[in-house]
């Protein structure tokens, strides 16, 4: 029986000829990742168990990004803990504020995640690197600690759902609409414990940034990972960024899938997930009564990349956010920030009445830089709209693409740009 793309990568990293769904394996890790919230718990676990060295100082990435620049004293203590650990263990890939970015935008950009890798990260959106043809998945702090100490972790080999992508999306439809559509279709546990494997001739019409967005939100369908085949676009991205050799794996022609879906990009419309689950999706044209909003956030590991900012700037150019609406734009990395500045995008945002923040996860998880008050509504390009996620438990989050977020900021209610 053939293997899926995910199964092939896992087999190779477990030193096995082949694996089957449900098999428990021990796999070698190419990268172990943590941030300022999850790493301190992992570091304490290592110290408590007297594990005083890491398996490979080049294969660990520590990225303080959630509550940095430090939002309060306790956050500062967490960051200090990570900084001291990185120094002591001479961790090559520790990123201080001036060189940081949101981890899942930063690591591909720095060339630290490449096709064929097995990556674990103590952050649920670690599944983002599937866009590059890697197996990557989120774990908790204890798994991170064990991974840092041993360079290995155990996995139960997942079965897979196949998404055959065809067609070409219309002008304002992007990766966010594709993944929201899929989550709306299969539900927040529709891919529980499984791989989401994307394939098909329509992939050529999705940019790398679209693919990062789609793989990023695989976890919102409960998936273990989301993964894309390596094509010309991926190769071009890797040639520009990769710091080490990569390996291309392909699913076998006779690989088995639990389910198969065909997604025709040409039929997709701007899509929004209503409170309080990412599966509560509606297309913008299905919304009846206008949904008035208070705030718009454009950023995060889901949609803070350069394509996202370009789309938002295109919508906002020469226009102004509606009076009383707060627009917060957060480039995901320092490099994206700089590029947006050079392209004049930041000028567009500021002239339109928005604020631009240094890279941070901040508002996405109700940390800082855009926390919501009682009853407030936010259109956000982030990934979760759970109760209380961005602030008060009565506040509401509507997940959308950068195009919809930008148009909504101008209109003051949820809206998509016109064709």
């Amino acid at each position: 029986m053939g293997m899926t793309m995910t199964q092939k990568i896992l087999a190779a990293h477990a030193g096995l000829e082949s694996v089957t769904a449900g098999q428990l394996i021990m796999a070698d890790l190419d990268l172990v990742l943590g941030n300022d919230i999850t790493s301190p718990v992992a570091i304490k676990e290592m110290e408590k168990n007297k594990l005083d060295s890491v398996f490979d100082k080049d294969k660990i990435a520590l990225v303080p990004d959630h509550f940095v620049p430090n939002k309060d004293i306790k956050s500062a203590e967490h960051c200090k803990c990570v900084r001291e650990f990185a120094l002591k263990n001479e961790i090559t890939n520790y990123f201080e504020v001036g060189e940081m970015g949101i981890e899942h935008a930063l690591l591909p950009e720095k060339g630290l995640t490449v096709a064929g890798d097995v990556i674990i990260g103590a952050d649920s959106h670690t599944c983002t690197y599937g866009a590059l043809g890697a197996f990557s998945t989120g774990v908790g702090s204890t798994d991170m600690a064990a991974g840092m100490a041993t360079g290995k972790t155990w996995f139960k080999v997942p079965s897979a759902i196949k998404f055959n992508i065809v067609g070409k999306p219309s002008k304002w439809v992007s990766g966010k609409d594709v993944i929201l559509h899929i989550i709306g279709m299969i539900g927040v546990d529709g891919a529980l414990y499984k791989s989401m494997e994307f394939c098909g001739e329509g992939l050529k019409n999705l940019t790398m940034d679209d693919r990062f967005t789609i793989a990023n939100m695989a976890i919102e369908a409960g998936a273990k990972n989301g993964i894309f085949p390596v094509d010309e676009l991926t190769e071009a991205y890797l040639k520009e960024h990769a710091k080490r050799p990569y390996k291309v794996y392909e699913a076998d022609a006779d690989a088995e899938y639990d389910e198969e879906y065909t997604i025709d990009l040409s039929t997709l419309k701007s899509t929004v997930a209503f409170p309080h689950l990412p599966e509560n999706t509606k297309t913008v044209d299905e919304i009846g009564e206008p949904v008035k909003i208070d705030q718009v956030v454009i950023g995060s590991c889901t949609n803070g990349r350069i394509d996202d900012l370009r789309i938002a700037a295109k919508v906002l150019s020469g226009r102004h956010v509606k009076k009383g609406i707060r627009l917060i734009v957060i480039p995901a990395t320092q490099s994206i920030y700089l590029q947006a500045m050079e392209e004049g995008l930041l000028k567009t945002f500021i002239e339109a009445g928005g604020v631009v923040s240094t890279p941070t996860c901040g508002p996405c998880l109700g940390g800082y830089m855009g926390v919501l008050a009682e009853g407030e509504r936010c259109v956000s390009t982030t990934n979760r709209n759970f109760v209380g996620r961005m602030g008060h438990i009565t506040s509401e989050i509507y997940l959308a693409s950068p195009a919809v977020a930008a148009e909504s900021a101008v209109k003051g209610f949820i809206a998509a740009p016109e064709e």
């Binding site: 919230i37 103590a122 952050d123 600690a145 209380g388």
Partner: protein, 161 residues
């Protein structure tokens, strides 16, 4: 090993943001996290929960973030076991890794009511609702995970293997 306690009952998709809101993640102290456990879904939970109590929920418990603070907060609040129809995968791993007993059992998850007194026998996987007299067979862990649990968590398992 057995656990007995009263049940706190929740529905589908209890996410890690309601188990422990991110506004408290500037701390990683289990006792402090426990004082905010379940706050955004059930503000009385922390006042009512007693050592040994049991959380029962339906589908996809623990979905969302990878924060280990979620099972840590539940464990530190005194809960002896979480029973659910299904668990989100990262929460499942994290619970085993930190030694919070969890059990997948659709029948129990859907039949047990809030406030019921429930006994769990971890060796046999038998869940008994003492209030209604019903009993259920929980899903046993694969041998590999049982070893991690018997070692009282992943770190001990690694040290000893």
């Amino acid at each position: 090993m057995k656990a007995t306690g009263h049940v706190f009952k929740y529905g589908d998709n209890v996410d890690t943001d309601v188990i422990i809101p991110a506004r408290y993640l500037n701390s990683s102290d289990p006792k402090e996290l426990a004082t905010h456990c379940m706050e955004d879904i059930d503000k009385d939970f922390v006042n009512k929960v007693k050592a040994g109590d049991i959380i029962v929920a339906t589908k996809n418990f623990g979905c969302g973030s990878s924060r280990e603070h979620a099972p840590i907060a539940i464990k530190a609040s005194g809960v002896s076991c979480v029973i659910a129809d299904t668990f989100a995968r990262i929460f499942y791993r994290n619970s085993i890794n930190i030694g919070l007993p969890i059990m997948e059992c659709a029948e129990a998850a859907n039949s047990i009511n809030a406030g019921d007194e429930v006994e769990i026998d971890f060796d046999s996987g038998i869940i008994t609702d003492k209030t209604t007299g019903q009993s259920f067979k929980g899903q046993p862990f694969p041998e590999f995970m049982q070893k991690i649990i018997n070692s009282e968590g992943l770190m001990n398992y690694i040290k000893n293997s």
